[in-house]
Amino acid sequence: MNIIEDAKQAVQGLVQGAMAKAVALAPDSWMPGGEPDPLIRHQHGHVGKPLSRIDGPRKVTGSATFSAEFPVDGMVYAAVVFATIAKGRLVEIDTRSAEASPGVISVMTHRNAPKLNPPPVFMSSSKAAGGDNLPIMQDDRIHWNGQPIAVVLAESQEFADHAASLICATYEADVTLTNFAVAIAKGTEPSLFMGQPLHNEIGDAEKALKEAPVAVDATYRTPRHNHNAIELHAVTVAWTGDTLRIHDASQLVAHTAWSVAQMFGMDEKQVVVTSPFVGGGFGGKCLWQHQVLAAAAAKIVGRPVRLVLSREGVYRVVGGRTLTEQRVALGADKHGKFKALIHTGVIAKTPSNILPEPFIMPARSAYASETMLLDVQAVELDMLANTFMRAPGEAVGTFALESAIDELADALGIDPIELRLRNEPEKEPTSGLPFSSRHVVEAWKMGAERFGWDQRSVKPGLVRDGEWLVGLGCATATYPYYRMPGGAARITLTRLGQATVDIAAHEMGMGTATVQTQVVAERLGLSLEAITFNYGDSTLPGVVLAGGSQQTASIGASVIAAHRALVKELIKIAGNDSPLAGLKPDEVASRDAGLCKADDPSRFETYASILERAHRDEIRVEASPPDPLETMHWSMHSHGAMFCEVRVNAVTGEPRVSRFLGSFDCGRILNSKTAASQFRGGIIMGLGLALMEETQFDERYGRIMNPSLSEYHVPVHMDVPDIDVIWTDIPDPHTPMGAHGVGEIGITGTAAAVANAIYNATGKRMRDLPITLDKLL
């Protein structure tokens, strides 16, 4: 299975690789984004305004409906039983007591579960959504400590939960591999990400490192992490005839519908997935076993089923970020010019998924270096499949890379910001592609001034406030601009001047409906009140992943395509009596609830007038944007400069962040209020990454030992200081609206900025996350 997957990935990679060369060499004008989105020129409209969330009143009154809150008649409650060994076989599973327990309707195990195809694993095809490709309750095999082995269905959650505790399983354990160091000693394998090897070489970096006048070379370690969205993963599912309706908490409704259909051997259209509100995602609200188990169970009992994973259940069933061991070695001349940049290391994954944490992504584009060696090796452990978590690769990769740069700056006696600016690349070093939009230098300068970087003591350990040692640190933030294929949007425009946009997108806190309402209103020349934005339903057009910070781009490009189709259709029906007669779609723009000639706004007719003359109540168009070739033609990234002030208690070692500033270069900001919130939110998760977060995996048993919000520490109010966020607001000329996604960049660079500030405060280098007080004593 694994070999087949690898081969498939390799073929996809080759195709992509060959095509990439042609795309890179093609003229700009052939590319999507070759002509700047006209909306970039609209400076005084809805776009960019700090509009409060349009779903705010629902969220603050508790009337936003989440997936466990859809009332369904005759519903059955489910509870899941998890395996307690890491690998082996179920010899016996005794469900008799559970079945006899009050309120229990049925118990599902591999013995009576409906036959299902294995999940299509994420990235194996365009709509695949599975966290892994392991069969779901189809046989007696155990693949990880925590795998679901039974589902109890009962009249109430209380009945189900208790009955689940009565199920008795006997196992035959296999020899397991759950120890990272042991696995590394046995040998590592090269890894692929999105079909391409996670490996880059420019020249002989090891040789250049040896010859460099100044060099640093260190190992950095990051532990496993869990997303810990506060909403528990939950589904409410119902079969109506041959149709399966899933109320899910999902970042990918269309992918989920298709993937579940594959598993049940159904047509994709027979699975309807809705997800109007998602209580936090961060990469974790995708397709795992619980949705499928609920659907299978609903089939068995012939009633709707609600399955809400317990907090422990989320840790057992939903993968998190994997651990990494990274080496960063930097060699420089005495002026700080990089002669060698080496970023290599090992991550753990499983035999059943294809996501190696791609921690070298930042190094591919962040700095110029004469030589480079980037490589991610993988080992496979018997554990729950790891998955994406906010800024996969970059979140932990920037910790190592940006810490190492701080170490080099210290060794060189050069200010760490200055060192970064001296190595600013002219084009992406590993691909040779030009940058679509890169203003990280501006971000650094703005940030340094605002933060008061010049107040920093160059020598560490000198600034003290009572018991507290105070230090400042900084780091580069970076995250790629992605736009994935598959977007599509439908626009319905009525004679009353109301527009509805339908797209299978998601809202998990980014402010999707709010921001897209602003953008659509601006694009169509309508008021905010005239726009209805429908999303979160797999029956709507588009295959849109709310991940990789790409949803804004995907929706933006889809709406551009649909708008173009709308204009074309309107011109057609406007006919010869319209002031627009004879114009081509490219010559026409929207304004004031109508269309005009782009360079002569006085040639204008309202939508209402056009539709009325054509005797049409409404007009409906649907369109898809071109494939995202632009990301192979330009190097497209968001950037940021992160600044941290930390206080380390000289007595107890307690590290506390007292001030933070993020200065971002993320294209044009579409809503200054919601974007600032996303930046801050990413930074706060980065503070958790730096100081406290760790999924404790007991390597003796392959079991997660802190599956709770009590023992897995995420930042609380008291851990979070004032966080200042600023941005360049320079549009990327090659993206819809000139915008970049802003959901993930905040977590990148943050941990390094904290670690570097801790060094400045204490003189101690922290290379293992999380930086807890015992490491600072």
Binding site: R58, T61, S63, I230, L709, V714, H717
Partner: protein, 211 residues
């Protein structure tokens, strides 16, 4: 014991009562009756007031206040994030005090007054704290938000009532409304989206704290 005489029993409450098998008369005090007969079904009758409405229910003894609100009264504004008192998403106000609805049994609420997010305000008729959360963008996904808001309302009252916190400098002086006091007191409400700074702004705004 809260008296029931001032309270009008709404149509909805009557419906809930009948759905909950046994309609009880008034809010009788004293021992809670065990259901007779089947000793495998451990249930009790309980009456308490939610957002001004009295609810008479017969519940599984194990049912938490949180599940009673969400699954029996269909007041789903109160959220389940951990079910173990570790996240604060289920924060409601009972007899004027905030608590984690997941860590108390429904049948222990006899005669109590429960205020949930639905009781603070509704779209179009928002509580000042709800309005401030919108104005200051004190949430992203919105899931921890009802708990944050119930907690926020109670935190201002706790400070006003001179209840000390971990960051109170002098135990014998009146507690002041400061950002640190608010942060410390709100630390039982986790927001994974990271809206903390904005939440503090919202509370400061409502509490009339100087910037």
């Amino acid at each position: 014991m809260q008296t029931s005489t001032h309270l009008e029993i709404s149509r909805r409450d009557l419906l809930i009562s009948s759905a909950a098998t046994v309609a009880v008369t008034g809010v009788a005090g004293g021992a809670i009756a065990q259901s007779a007969g089947n000793d495998m079904v451990q249930t009790s009758k309980v009456s308490f007031i939610v957002n001004g409405d009295i609810h008479n229910m017969k519940l599984d003894n194990r049912t938490t206040l949180l599940d009673a609100l969400r699954e029996h009264l269909h007041l789903t504004g109160t959220k389940k994030g951990c079910d173990h008192g570790q996240c604060g998403a289920c924060t409601v106000i009972v007899d004027g005090r905030r608590l984690n609805a997941c860590l108390t049994l429904a049948i222990m609420q006899e005669g109590r007054r429960v205020t949930t997010i639905e009781g603070l305000g509704k779209p179009g008729d928002l509580h000042p704290m709800q309005a401030a959360f919108i104005k200051h963008d004190g949430f992203q996904c919105g899931y921890c938000t009802p708990g944050q808001i119930c907690s926020s309302v109670a935190v201002l009252e706790e400070i006003g009532a001179n209840i000390p916190s971990h960051v109170t400098a002098d135990l014998t002086s009146p507690v002041a409304l400061t950002a640190a006091e608010v942060r410390e007191r709100m630390s039982g409400n986790i927001c994974r989206c990271g809206a903390y700074s904005n939440i503090i702004d919202a509370i400061s705004d409502v509490g009339g704290m100087k910037a």
